[in-house]
Symmetry: C2
Subunit: 328 residues, 2 copies
């Protein structure tokens, strides 16, 4: 079984790759566990740290048809399409966002269509597809109303995935991810980057800036559970996605103030004191347009799992990433 991860050098891509290599199998189109004998990690930069013989590292522009023709072939049973331009970057560079978040996705789906073997395509969407006046709890049938180019592009991507699946060109499965926290590594150009930074930097004894007010409500998922849910979505039977191709994943609803409180509980006031509050109107506008909570009934009925609370998210970061960092 040959698997492709686009965005394979990114933080989620690499973590997914490690998990897949560790598991060694995924369910095939017939629902039978099959051995992963090839894992292609494709990104604009090479995915490093992989010595496993099952891994092939490829680089190139995901919006280039010739590149995609090399990366995807009729053996590619499943694609985890994680390559994307993040929210603040898509807002700052409209053309780049359209090219990667729309054109590259469409090209990927067209490549699959032409090959004709109907692979599974796992697509990550986002809280950013919601916006405007929202109910306290967003429901499955709440209208999408994105207020950023990133959200618009993800919503269009969901529609493409849905129609390519309905036409039988792919078996598409879209997951709307809550904001991922705590991400390891460096800040990125996502408007939500601070949602990891205000926990990660203080725990690493560095200063952090929080660009939004303490009452800003976020809907969060740990990297650990994001990966578990991506694999779960892959292995579910087709009937789970028969009516709707896109699913809201479980999350934890928490205010930024409560996040900082949880950090203090785990790591003390000295750690909390490394956060400086400095509001940024653009970030506040984008992040403030996202829902702070959505209904999880469908996801939970299908067996998807979120985190217990934000404190356990902080502890998961310390266990999965901070110890790694300290010991490596």
């Amino acid at each position: 079984m040959k698997i492709l991860i686009t965005g394979g050098a990114g933080f989620l891509g690499k973590r997914l790759a490690k998990k897949l290599l560790q598991r060694g199998t995924l369910k095939n189109a017939k629902g039978v566990e099959e051995t992963i004998d090839r894992l292609v990690l494709f990104d604009v930069v090479p995915a490093d740290d992989f010595t496993d013989p099952r891994v092939t590292v490829m680089t190139g522009d995901v919006s280039d048809p010739a590149v995609l023709n090399r990366v995807v072939d009729a053996e590619t049973a499943s694609i985890f399409h994680l390559a994307a331009v993040v929210s603040s970057q898509a807002e700052a560079d409209f053309d780049l966002g359209m090219r990667i978040n729309i054109d590259a996705l469409r090209l990927l789906l067209e490549t699959c269509r032409r090959l004709g073997h109907c692979p599974k395509v796992l697509f990550t969407s986002s809280v950013a597809v919601y916006g405007g006046t929202l109910p306290e709890v967003v429901l499955d049938d709440t209208a999408l109303n994105p207020k950023s180019s990133y959200g618009i592009q993800k919503a269009m991507g969901e529609l493409l995935l849905t129609d390519f699946s309905r036409k039988g060109f792919i078996d598409g499965r879209g997951l709307r991810l809550p904001t991922i926290s705590v991400r390891p590594g460096k800040p990125n150009q996502a408007a939500s980057s601070f949602a990891s930074g205000i926990i990660r930097e203080p725990l690493n004894k560095e200063a952090a800036v929080c660009p939004v007010t303490p009452d800003t409500r976020l809907w969060l998922l740990s990297p650990r559970q994001a990966i578990e849910n991506l694999i779960w979505a892959h292995d579910l039977g087709a009937e789970a996605f028969a009516q709707t191709r896109v699913l809201n994943l479980p999350g934890v609803s928490v205010s930024v103030g409560e996040m900082v409180e949880a950090l203090g509980k785990v790591a003390g006031q000295e750690t909390v004191d490394r956060i400086r509050w400095e509001s940024d109107a653009v970030v506040q506008r984008i992040v403030g347009s996202w829902p702070g909570r959505w209904d999880m009934k469908r996801a939970q009925a299908l067996g998807f799992k979120g985190d217990l609370d934000f404190e356990s998210i902080v502890r998961a970061y310390i266990a999965d990433d901070l110890q790694d960092a300290l010991t490596s």
Copy 2:
């Protein structure tokens, strides 16, 4: 003031052109009535019947950048973008639908963006953006869930229009049209073509086939009111579209059985007897996925107007089109 109508040789395009020439003015970006001194009718075939010196007829492929560069210029104050591939055709020819309903729209918006003068762009969307399990009355915040490629493409078009407007590239105004009935002329490849055919053909003493069951519920608007509403949407101040760029137009909720009953009331049983009932699973599936009614509060508050009932729609057709046909 220079106005462009794409799809200008189509039935709605020509009717809109005639109405604009008769009115002679539209409101400009400042809300002031301005004389229409040039009206460009662009389509794949020439718009005939126009001798008015204000009219320029142009032909070409709306998805060709070079063609659009000729058709749109910095003088083009407003664009009525009616060019589209209709529902059954978009379902039968996936690539054609994507090329005209998505790529051409995006190209048009990109052309406007490059020119930098932020023209008004009137975009016609459709009931087909809704589908799946729907409430009895669709509300403004009911999620889009299109079940056809046409509906998917219109929903993606709405998102493009919304983001290009938010970025200040255009002043976009999208109208979700109910099914237009009674259209004059010949049947077309819209799945809803019968909604005109079962009235038009019998009134013209021809046989008609109804491919759906009598209990199928439709949401209808006459061509006359569609044109009035397009012009109304153009002339509204920008604040009407500040929160949401797309609006559900008023319509009349009626079952196919009730439509035929109204036809009988206006034109007698002999006319009704020209309809043959012959179900078509594809048409039934597509049309059956559309809402039979949606909430009109926002549209009515903004001054948009639907028809009184289906009988008055039939009488409007006889007055506007059947008499024309008889006397020309």
